[in-house]
Structure formats: structure tokens, C-alpha cells
Amino acid sequence: MRTIDELLAGSSAFDGLSGEHLELIAGCGVNRSFAAGAMLMREGERAQTFYVIRHGAVALETYVPQRGPLMIETLHEDELLGWSWMVPPHHSQFDARALGVVRTVAFDGACLRGKCDADPALGYELMKRFAAVLAERLAATRIRLLDVYGHVAGS
């Protein structure tokens, strides 16, 4: 059975972090699995956890009246799920549902925030990585806003 930091070392989200920093982060993480259909997050609930998906797929969803629950994005192996732990008031903005069996490393947000406050260098390294992931997701989302497949003359 591999330790948390061994698992994290292979993850692209924490690529390049020093062994010391990995150990610090690992201290806030535990292995957690979900069965198909389980909710990892619910919209509006207090969210102090962020996840690194190790196996399986998670759907980010929101409920739209008259259209039902719509999937906004699916997240897969090696992707990060959850930002609300970083930004007050720490409420999830979307539902996150396990599409099959999902195995994750779940991080306690308060624990991680505490360690970043104590060690700003660690905080900076984490923020850089999260910023990169957020930037990429924002760009992709903006392109989807254009609805390039749907746009026809007059619409």
C-alpha cells in the first residue's frame, strides 16, 4: 500500500514540489473512495475539501429548472476537484457526482490553509499550480461559451 506522498508524487498537480513540501501536504490528505452515484460535493454546502482524482470520473453538475440537472464538466484521473476551500465563504458552487467507482486523495482545506499560512513558500508553490489549472479551465470554459458548434447565421 503506497503512502499518500507516494501517490501525490506521481500527480501532475504537484509536479516539482520538494519532498518536504509533499510530506507537509500529505499530512492533510487521506484516501477516500466513492461508489457510483455518490455526491462528493453539493451546491451551497460548506466545502472544506479538495480532491485529487486517482481513478474514475466525476461529473460537475447544476440543476437548471425545466431542463433538469446539466453536466458542466467531467473530471478524470489526475485532475483536481474543488476550489471553495481556498476562497471564503467556502461554499460549493456545483454538485459533484461520482460517475462510477471513484478513488481520490481528499485534502482537508482548513489543515492545508493552516500549513500554507505557516509556510508561505509552500503556499506560493501550491497557488502557482492551482492558478495554472484554473487558467486552463477558464480558457476552455470561455471557448465553450462561444457555442461554436451551435452558432448559425441569424442566431
Binding site: 467531467t74 457526482r97 470554459t141 458548434y149
Partner: protein, 282 residues
């Protein structure tokens, strides 16, 4: 060229030849596939994957339509109803006749791609002009390295050829990855931009040929994603679309910089198409 084929190719470059609709399938709410056979003879000049035909609906007009399948005995065209001419074409039924002119344009570099990994990236209706390329790759599978088909659409109901996708995915020698921009909760697949599929696709950038068709915005970002992984621009190919009124290089409408899309395209290597697309409103 056999005498029978000659009868199909009209001598005047602007005169269509009559073909008959033998099958019609509704693909999505606004897209249909029509299977055509030449009228009055049995064989036709072969259409290479990537080439197109000008399809004429009697009295309504002509439009450049992607060929989604071709043999020496038939053509399949997948048409999206977006204007008066394509609406007229999509309103036709089995037994109706259309005018056909073609083949026109450049083809996918399938021969040049032999020995390399191949990545096919389609967005929306872009899977239609890529379908003949995929069929060719699968029919000649041993000549190519890893083959990946990446497909992005607006929503699950707007995906083309879902049965083909299932069949291709069921093979053990091709990777098929499909994603949609948004989906109802019953969707079991991926939701996200098609560019997200590129970092995960299995191919060796040093020896890969990529073929992309979709809205221009999508092609730009997909090409950028492939370039980021190290695929050289000359080995990335896109299919461009411009207004076409003649398809023989005389009407002037399809110009994209110095290129005539009907003759120098529609398939272009990215080292040519990329710089052309960089100039807005070109």
C-alpha cells in the same frame, strides 16, 4: 477512365450531372445524410477522403457539401440545413434527383501518413468530412501506427454517427474519445472542451499526422494544443471553409489570401492555414 464514368463527368465545368437519392438518414435535428448513386451509369470518378462535391437542388441552388463516404458506385453527403439551399437539399427524399459536380479540392494526406501515428480531431459536423479518412485508416489499419479519434460536440443529441463511434470504439486497435460541451445527467461520457482530450491521447508527437475539422475557433485551439505537445505544423492538417459559387477557381469567392479554398484546399497543412487564419477577416 471507363466510358461509363465519362458519361457522369459533364464536359462544362459548371454543369451538374444527375444523381439519385437512394437512402436518407436523419443524423441530428438539423443534419441529414443522403446516399447518392449516379443516374444513367453505374460508376463514378473516385472521391478521395477530404474532397467535396457541389450539390444542386433543382431550382434552389448549389452548395459545397462534405463527402462522408464514397466508393466508385456511390456518394454519401452529410448536410446541415442552415440556409435556403441546404434546406432544399435536406428536404429531398429517396428517389429524388440532385445535380452533382465534383470531385473538387485537396484530400487528406493518408498516404503520406502511412507509418505514423494518426490523430483525427473532429468538432460538431466536422466529423463528416473526416469519416472517409477514418474508414480508410481502419480499412488499412496495418499501415499506420496508433490511431486516435477525438470528437467534440455541443451535446449528446448533436453527435454524428454514434453507431460508427461505438463500432470504432469496440475495436481494440483504435482509441476513440468523445466529449460534449454540456449534457443532461444521463450522459455517461465526458463533458468538456475537445482540446482537453489532446494531452491524454496516445500518440508520439515526433511521428504523428493530425487531421482536424470543426469551427475555425475550435481548429485554432486544437492545433495549438497539438503544437504544445510537439506535433510539427506541417503534419497538422485542417479543412477550411469559404463561400463557393463555382468550385473551379473562377468565381473568386473562396479566396483565403493567395489560396483558392476550392483548389488549394479545403485540406491545408497548418503551417499554411495557421498564418492565413491569423489575419482577421481575411
Amino acid at each position: 477512365m471507363s466510358p461509363a464514368a465519362e458519361a457522369v463527368i459533364a464536359p462544362h465545368p459548371m454543369r451538374p450531372a444527375p444523381w439519385r437519392v437512394v437512402h436518407k438518414t436523419r443524423e441530428t435535428r438539423d443534419t441529414w445524410s443522403l446516399e447518392l448513386v449516379p443516374y444513367g451509369c453505374t460508376t463514378t470518378e473516385p472521391y478521395a477522403p477530404g474532397q467535396f462535391a457541389m450539390i444542386y437542388a433543382f431550382g434552389a441552388g448549389e452548395a459545397p457539401i462534405s463527402v462522408s463516404e464514397a466508393s466508385e458506385r456511390h456518394l454519401m453527403h452529410t448536410v446541415r440545413a442552415v440556409g435556403p439551399t441546404t434546406n432544399a437539399i435536406c428536404a429531398l427524399g429517396v428517389g429524388d434527383q440532385v445535380g452533382v459536380r465534383g470531385p473538387f479540392g485537396t484530400a487528406w494526406p493518408l498516404e503520406a501518413a502511412e507509418g505514423a501515428d494518426v490523430v483525427v480531431v473532429a468538432g460538431g459536423i466536422g466529423l463528416a468530412p473526416l469519416r472517409p479518412a477514418v474508414l480508410h485508416l481502419l480499412a488499412n489499419r496495418e499501415r499506420y501506427g496508433r490511431v486516435s479519434v477525438l470528437y467534440g460536440g455541443r451535446a449528446p443529441s448533436e453527435l454524428l454517427f454514434p453507431r460508427d463511434l461505438e463500432r470504432w470504439r469496440a475495436r481494440f486497435d483504435v482509441d476513440v474519445d468523445v466529449t460534449v460541451d454540456a449534457a443532461p445527467d444521463v450522459w455517461r461520457g465526458r463533458v468538456g472542451l475537445v482540446t482537453k482530450l489532446i494531452p491524454r491521447a496516445a500518440f508520439d508527437p515526433a511521428d504523428t499526422v493530425a487531421m482536424i475539422v470543426g469551427p475555425e475557433v475550435m481548429m485554432r485551439f486544437v492545433a495549438a494544443g497539438l503544437r504544445e505537445r510537439g506535433v510539427p505544423a506541417e503534419r497538422i492538417h485542417v479543412s477550411m471553409e469559404r463561400s463557393m459559387r463555382c468550385a473551379v477557381g473562377h468565381c473568386g469567392h473562396c479566396q483565403l489570401g493567395p489560396a483558392f479554398v476550392c483548389q488549394d484546399g479545403p485540406v491545408f497543412p497548418w503551417n499554411v492555414a495557421g498564418p492565413l487564419m491569423e489575419v482577421r477577416e481575411r
